[in-house]
Symmetry: C2
Subunit: 345 residues, 2 copies
DNA sequence: GTTAGCACTCGTTGATATGGAGTGCTAACA
DNA sequence: TGTTAGCACTCCATATCAACGAGTGCTAAC
């Protein structure tokens, strides 16, 4: 048995209706509200077939039908009509805050959450190969040095170094030169113990001081490596009863509070989809590798900050999600982000 | 009618029992589980009096009694026996992360949330009069200056300044001197337009450049002024059905996601309690100035980072909160924090 | 292949009954 | 005068039951 034109149309109608109402869809509804001009009895026969094929299912005997994961999948892959989603004044809303990467991303998350009524997350862009741009040591007061580390993409890390005794101004100047000579332009992943050791050896008399400094630098570099994630609209998850009782909902919300789980999730996804970085991905139900999300769907997109610098945006909601709206909202947003980033650099 | 010894004992027993079970307490329960050796009938008479006095109330006729806000208040003010709350390895848990103020505070919030099963928040310490410690401009690449602003308490702000044309090295050096001469040691609140204007006037030929720089400085200073807040365990709120249905719970959670509301709340509280900075405050039900928290209680404490530098820690839970545990947990934590901070400086 | 008709299923809703925890009151007791 | 046993009463919680209706599957006719 195969899916002919008519079955497709019916399936589509079922899904559309279910997305709107959230209630099992009966044969009579389909019969009345499509242009197929078929009686409910005929529709029933077709629905029975569709169920056998696994595209829809009955919550219980003699209830209407709801889409199965397989049904949603087919819908998302082949039947969605993307509508152009207007989100006026995205730009205004974003650009005010565009100064700082963190606030910008937080803002993006919020904007999406407000526009879709789902829960959103945005990861900080992950530089594949970031290089160290520049280091500077300064004496802040009698006992503290401040190390400023600038990384490609204008990410700045500050570290204070407590000292017993402050070196001479001149020494600090020298140290600055040494550090930059060795480290400037290096890929962060290359800044490892071996390199640092080498500097220590070359630094002779400043040994103890430079050791402290290098520790600080290593710390700053390591810090940049873990990637952050911003979420918004988490409470929207409570709006959808189908996501489970309080217990379940709490579990799900915890996932969003405890960002480390999300981080893993996102990394998992990234590794799966090599080669199609630019697309928009839809994960339905169990396709998402996180048990708490069994009843959810997730739509993700990858944005490009600049050549080779990617971050992810994700929207999480019930399976009964307005996929069309979400996908096109994401698309609109990506375009906007692109143009904001491109213009800046 | 006054509260005699016996009434107090009964009230205390009612509250204790209710805190444990969460269910209206009947006269028979009290009669059996206190050492008063009174029949349930006598207890009933006393309870009737207590209700008239406003310390307890009946959810409905012929149900047991639950404490009223007034009852809780009396309990908290006069009847609590503080138990010493052991939280072993607080120190270990905190010190690992103690390097960075933000992670430390986030960690504190989490630790409290895990220990109490309530929702917690921690504000970043607010310096009453922070002074600017030091400014430094550096040329990062051909078109960008980096301004590093260090504020009392070793808070560092970084701002990039986009330039058409990079000034000479020498000029930058001069600018550094000028900026520090004018601004070093100034209270942040004193760094206003007037002062900046004065610098502009004195800077003659560098006019346009310095104008950009001062904007950046002003921004950095302003940024430090808004104060941040860290939360943890927000989903714990879902554990307490008495906090309302999904709708209500969502509202409450939103408050915690939307930190700006919390900020206001905390500021409100701070202004109310002039002079008793060091105490632990308990706000029961409507005493907290936030409508979403009507069914909650909140316990706050003020920690002192160093002389004159205060931050707040708050725990939010249902009115039926284990006040004794919360208060003593907070007290333990304060002591620990004190010793961590003192030792560092 | 399509459709009308019909018996059947099963969740939802609302009404009704039952049980029990707890009260307030009264009368008896020390 | 304070305490207590006893009892009628209230009201929630829970279970039970019937009525309803949306929806199905099947059959027979078109």
């Amino acid at each position: 048995m195969e899916l002919d034109e008519r079955k497709l149309k019916i399936l589509q109608a079922i899904i559309r209706t279910y997305l709107e109402t959230g209630e099992p869809v009966g044969s009579r509804t389909i019969s009345k509200y499509t242009d197929l001009n078929l009686s409910s009895a005929t529709i029933r026969n077709e629905m029975s077939d569709l169920e056998e094929l696994g595209y829809i299912l009955q919550p219980y005997t003699s209830a209407g039908r709801i889409p199965s994961d397989k049904g949603y999948r087919l819908y998302v892959d082949t039947m969605m009509q993307e509508k152009v989603q207007e989100m006026d004044n995205i730009r205004e809303q974003l650009e005010e805050k565009a100064g700082k990467m963190e606030t910008l991303l937080q803002q993006v998350a919020k904007l999406l959450a407000v526009n879709t009524n789902y829960t959103t997350m945005v990861t900080k862009p992950k530089y594949q190969h970031k290089t160290l741009k520049f280091i500077q040591l300064t004496d802040v007061d009698e006992r503290q040095l401040l190390a400023v580390v600038v990384i490609e993409g204008n990410i700045v890390k500050n570290k204070f170094i407590q000292l017993e005794k402050m070196p001479e101004k001149e020494t600090i100047l020298k140290l600055n030169i040494v550090l930059n000579t060795f480290l400037q332009g290096l890929d962060l992943t290359e800044i490892n113990m071996a390199v640092l050791q080498k500097i220590k050896e070359q630094s002779g008399e400043y040994g103890p001081v430079i050791s402290l400094i290098l520790d600080a630098v290593a710390e700053a570099v390591a810090e940049e490596d873990d990637f952050e994630i911003y979420t918004s609209g988490t409470t929207n998850l409570l709006r959808y009863p189908e996501l489970g009782d309080r217990e379940k909902a709490a579990k799900l919300l915890e996932t969003f509070e405890e960002k480390s789980q999300l981080t893993e999730l996102i990394q998992d996804l990234s590794s799966q989809e090599e080669g199609k970085e630019h697309g928009i991905q839809v994960y339905i139900g169990e396709e998402a590798p996180l048990s708490a999300m069994q009843n959810c769907s997730m739509v993700t997109a990858t944005y490009e900050l600049e050549e080779g610098v990617y971050g992810k945006i994700g929207i999480v909601g019930p399976k009964r999600m307005d996929y069309e709206k979400v996908v096109s909202t994401l698309q609109t947003l990506m375009t906007e982000l692109d143009s904001i980033f491109k213009r800046k650099s």
